[in-house]
Structures are given as structure tokens and as C-alpha cells.
Symmetry: C2
Subunit: 447 residues, 2 copies
Amino acid sequence: MTFELSKEFADLLQKAVDEKDSEFIKSTLDGVNPADITETLEEFSSEDSRYVLSILAIETRAEIISNLDEDTLKRFLKIYSPEEIAGFIEVMDSDDAVDILNELGNELAEKIIDSLSNQEKIDHILDLMRYDEDVAGGLMAKELIKANVNWTIEQTIEEIRHQGEKVTQIYAVYVVDNYNTLLGKVSLRKILLARDGTKIKDIYDEEVISVYTNIKDEEVVSLMKKYDLDAIPVVNLRGKLMGRITIDDVVDVMSEQAEEERQLMAGISEDVEEDDNIWLLTRARIPWLVIGLTGSFLGAEVIKQFEGQIAVVPILASFIPLITATGGNVAIQSSSMIVQSLATKSVFQDSYLKRLSKVVAVAILNGLLLAALAFTLSYFLRHDLQVSVVVAALSMVVLLASLSGTVTPILLDRFGINPAAASGPFITTANDLLGLAVYFLVAYYLL
Amino acid sequence: MTFELSKEFADLLQKAVDEKDSEFIKSTLDGVNPADITETLEEFSSEDSRYVLSILAIETRAEIISNLDEDTLKRFLKIYSPEEIAGFIEVMDSDDAVDILNELGNELAEKIIDSLSNQEKIDHILDLMRYDEDVAGGLMAKELIKANVNWTIEQTIEEIRHQGEKVTQIYAVYVVDNYNTLLGKVSLRKILLARDGTKIKDIYDEEVISVYTNIKDEEVVSLMKKYDLDAIPVVNLRGKLMGRITIDDVVDVMSEQAEEERQLMAGISEDVEEDDNIWLLTRARIPWLVIGLTGSFLGAEVIKQFEGQIAVVPILASFIPLITATGGNVAIQSSSMIVQSLATKSVFQDSYLKRLSKVVAVAILNGLLLAALAFTLSYFLRHDLQVSVVVAALSMVVLLASLSGTVTPILLDRFGINPAAASGPFITTANDLLGLAVYFLVAYYLL
């Protein structure tokens, strides 16, 4: 059914490349989906890929290049001249073209744009380059089908015939007035079933959900999810139709968001992947480890204050991991609950006071259960009532960790920082300090 | 542009419901997107929602009900009779209908199916209920437009007119032979631009990517992402067209996956949300906390073996959090790198040996950097060379944590468990034990 990409196939292709057997390559890759060719070429050297690409049609070539992951893309484009890159850009969707130009730096991008011959494409690209990558304007493509509200079905079909080649998936035809103001949309199905001579104004749907160019990408994602949209038109502040965002771009944004959140939660500070080099991987990991280490030295200073007591009751030291681990686990649970509810914001959210009092209630319940268990275990293992009472201070640690785990992501979100950062090593480190202080203070007063 | 949902609007609606002002409700909700009505009604009592729904058209009602989140849905459906629920099911897409029936338990589901009058709908539902929820068969809807390869364009358009109402978004018309075997697809654009009398067999596209009914949902997601598909046909093992999956369902699966991973990483064992009740929230959180706590008691036993030493050099105790926190952070970083690369599996993955040796290299580099920093800090703060050397045992802890963080998710994945579980409290707890043992053993031999 679908083409099965395999290591054998890649080896076969590599052999053909080595032998410069262009006929074999052409016939092998005929009918293979460009996405599969992309995956194969990502494993090839830039020169070999260039050779394979040179055999393919320019449209296939451009599609493969716009599919490449960032690292491979940079590597590939280095071996092409600005004029050659301009050739690819010419046949790409405007949004993919701009993504690539943004990767290349201003100087090279300008050279490439100068080499473009299609004035419409140049205008599209220059328009899109004005927007940040993380707003609707930066996500949208200029390619879309629009129809004037006064047109007939025949005129609209003619426009689809004319513009259709440039638009990969039509989804709907957007309806505008003489000033390009978005008025609504009409589905292909309606056009298909309409009688000859029907006017667009008589069949179009005025209820179209659109976004402004400056809307944040997360908001575009949540709108398209909520309303199950496959495409959303983008308008400027005066309501003029500027472009449209399609669902495949939104799916990419969602994957990036998930990856970013995973890295934040794990305390990885750069966008790295397992196959990056050792130096990059270390650079991405060391910052949070150093912060955690520094935090632990602060913790060591806290414990140092109670060294006298530990010398007398060394058993106290053995419960340090209990305090820090439980505090950390509780804090991460709490903050991930908040991150989740921030991600699915609703207008009906309860007041902060109500939410916080619930957090406290859950914390007290959890804290009491855990403290009871810890007290029992420690009493049975050590037969020391006083120490077991100290261990039950765990309930206070749970409460504090719940509060800090709840408040931190909310504060981060307020300051415009991704709240998922709170679920990482940050919260663990902060809670170690807090928990240790509480534990040893209780020990100090009780023992 | 879009309807702005607000607390004021909800209050206004609530007041109208209290006064049973059906005219006002009808006129206010006219033209409001069902997704917005859903969001509002989720905050209402079941009885009030029932009243609002009773005023709306049956199609709108069914759409609202299929949009509801799981908890609200269960709450809502309790106040309806099986016959009334059958009324909603009758106008829903087959996949949404089955999702709801799956929520209700076998007995009630059977009663509802018995009350259905549309035989085609019954067949669709019974067919879909045979599949697990997490395979392509469980994701697909039966509603789609198909055309026989021997039809003309006119026959196909007639079919679209006939079946079109039942299919929310057409995307493409699937082409089958007389035995319902999937042969290809033809886009609406092609149909629109085709000349009268054209045969489907002359214009259809044979290259259609399809999935078998038993393919896992994650694989469906990654196929649709890779090939930028908006819909994918589902076939049985003999290649017969069984249904299709649309991109909005895949987007939902992606959101669920992200949420599931977040909860696994945070050690939350049930699918809960911030607005669930205190008892549910506690039940979801306590299992991992108890496991962590038990692990910490094992850690306490490890430390207990070295109590004599701690009594003599109490300074040793102060570095316990350094060992456990750093080990935990390193392990979580390592496992999240693996989880990420498992999520984007490629056929070209390096051998395990090569990957593992890279992990070790990164670990040694990180370990040496951290150990050097820890040694320096500890020497400057405590001026005790021997203890500082013991603290530098951190490098070994980092190495072990990297290995366990790398191997655990791979093993979990092998056993069919979501590898993200490795990034949670599990790995922290395991690493505490390992790290403490190493640290105190080094101390034992050096001091």
C-alpha cells in the first residue's frame, strides 16, 4: 500500500549514486512520495543528495527541500548558489519559502530574493518576512483561492482553474469584496453542486472564523482545535484578507510545542536531538545541571547548620532523601496540573482563591496520608518515637511543595515564560531547600 | 470576527434559563458556533443544559453533545432516556456516536442501539464497535464519499449531492472497484474542473496512502504528519475501503498523547484535571508518591549502613541532596532525550552500541565538568580535601544516572509501556538509591 522505506532501499540508492547511474535512480524514485525521498536523503552526504536532487523534477526537488529538518537544510543549502536556491524558492509555497530564507541570514536571503523573477512571489515573500515566526502572520501562506462576492460560479471555477495549481489544498474559497475585505467563504462542495449562473453572494457562508495577523501561534492552534478547522483565513486589523493557515502547519506547531515542553520539563535548555554531536548535547544539558548543583550546595549549607544534631542523632541524615524526593515529586505533580489547566484555559476558570484552597485541601490530604505512612514505616524500622514524629514533618513539606508547585507556573505564565519550565529541575532545587529547612527546624525543636 | 465567549454571556444565559425565557435563548444562540455553546453549557447544571438543548435544533444538539468533555458528557447523559440518546446518535457521525456509546457501558449501549431506526447507522456503529479505541479502526468514521471507478463525473457529483449532507468535510472522493477495493482518490478540484462525461477512471489518482484497520493510532498520527494529509482512508486486510480518519481526530489524538506524556512525566497515574474533585485528584497522585516514599525508605536503609561514618564526619550528610538531585536531573534529561527519539523513530537509527557509546561520552563530559565544579565549591566552602574528593564521586553518579536514564525508557518501550513513564518519579527514586550507594561507598573507602 504505502512505500516501505528501508535501509536496503537507501543502500541500493547509495550504490546507484556512487555509480552515477541516473537512469536507475530516476526509475526507482518515480512515484515515491517526496516525504519518503526526504527521509532517505537526510542520511546522505550533501553532495550525494545534490546529485539525486539534480535528477528529479524541480517541483519534487523544492518539495523535498521544504520538508528537510533544520540541520540538514542548512547543510544542504551551503552547496547551492543563491541563484539555484532562488530556483527552488520560486516553486515553493510562500510560507515554506520564507521559513527557508529565515534560516539563511539577511545577506544571503536578500541575494536570493534579488534573483527571483516572479514579482508576485517576491511581493508575497517580502510581505511574509515582516511577521514574527510565532504569530499568525508568520504561519500563514499567501497562496489561497478567493472569489469576489459579485462573481458567478463560472467565474469562480475559472479562478480555481487559473490559481488552483499554486494552491496545494483548497479547502474553501474565501469570499471578498472589491477592497479585499474578507466577507465569508464557500466550500468546494457548494460550488460543485451550485447551478450555472448562481452568484457567489447567494450561496456563500458569512460565518467564517478568522484570525488577525498578530495573533499568537498557540491561540491559532487552540482555535483550530476547538472549531475543528482545516484552514483559517488571516486578516489584518482592517479586515483585509492577508493569507491563510492550513492544518498541517498547525500540526507542526503542536509537535514543536510538545517537544519544547518535554525539554523544559527535563531541564534541557536548547533544542537538541539524540543525533546531535556530543558538544551540543553537553551544552544543552549543563546549564540546568549547574543550577541544580548550586542549589544543592545551598542545601548543604542548610544541613551544615544542623551538623551538631546529625552528629548526635545520625539517623536524621538517613531521611534527607525522603524529604527532598517527596517534596520534589509533589511539586512536579502540582505544577504539571497547573501547566495543563493553563494550556486549556477557559473563560470560566474559578477564582484564584477557590483554586488555591483546593490545592491546599489536596495537599493536606496527601500530606496526612504520606506522613502517616512515613511515621508508621519509620517507627517499625527504627523504634524511635521522637524521630518518627520528626519524619511526620513530611506533611508540612508536602504542603509547601504543593504551594510552590502551584504558584511558580502561574507566576512564570504571568511574566510570559512557558510555565512548563516550572516542572523541571527548577522546582526540584527550590523545594530541596525549603523541605530541608522545615525538616531540620522541626528536628531542632523536637529533639 | 469570532464570537467572544464571556462570563457575562454565560450569566445572561443562566438568567434566561432561570426565567425559562426560551425565545431569548433561541435568539441569543442563533448563529453561535456549537463549540462555543458547548463550552458554556459545560459550566451549567445538567438540568439547565437539558433545557437549553431542548430549544435547539437536533443537529446542533447532537454536535454540542459530541463536543462535550468526558466528565460532562457522562453527567449529561444520565438525565436522558435511552430513546432520547438514540435521537442524538442518529444524527451524529458514526465515530462520535461510538465514542459516546463506549462511555456508557454495554447494557445501556445495547438499549440505545435497539432504539435506533436507521439501519445503515446501526451497521456502521456495530462495525466500528468491533475495534479497539487506539487503532485506526477505532479512530475512523464510516461517513465518506466514494465513487466507482467506472462512473462518470456526473454520477459522482450526483453521489456527492446525495451523500454530501452526511459528510462534514469531503477532502477527497475515494475511488473503488465493484468489490469496494480501494483503488485511489480524486480531489474535489479535479471533479470541479473536469469536462462533462469524463470518466473517473481517466482522472483518478492511484497514489493514495491508506492504513489498515489494525494500525496503532500513533502510527496513523505520524503518517498523516509526515505526508501532510488531511484525511486517510482505512482498508481491511483485503484492501476493502472500511472508513476514513480525518485530521481533526488526529489533532485530538496528538493532544491526548501530549497530556498523557505530561502526566506520566509528573507521576500522575490517572487522567485528571484541575477541576476534578479532591478525592479524584488525591487518588491520581498518591500511588507514585507512595512508591517514591517507599524508595526513600530503602535509601534511608542504605544511609543507615554508614551512620557510624556520618556520626564521625557529619559533613558527609550535607551532600546527600547534591548526590540525589544531580543524579535525578541527569537521569530525567537522558530519558527525555530517548523518549523524544523514540517518538520520531526513523529507519536509519544508529545501532544501540553506537548510541550508547555516545550517551557514555556525553555523561563522562558532563560528569567531569560537574565533579570539577563540585570539588571546587566544596573545597572553598569546607577546606577539607578528602571530603571534596568524595564529593567528586559525583562524576560516577552522573555516569550511572545517564545509563539508567537511557536504558529504562528503551526497556519500557520494548515491553509496550509508554517510555515517558521513565522520566517520572520512577527514575528519580531508582537513582537516589544508586547514587547514595556509590557516594557512601566512596566515602567508606576514602575516609
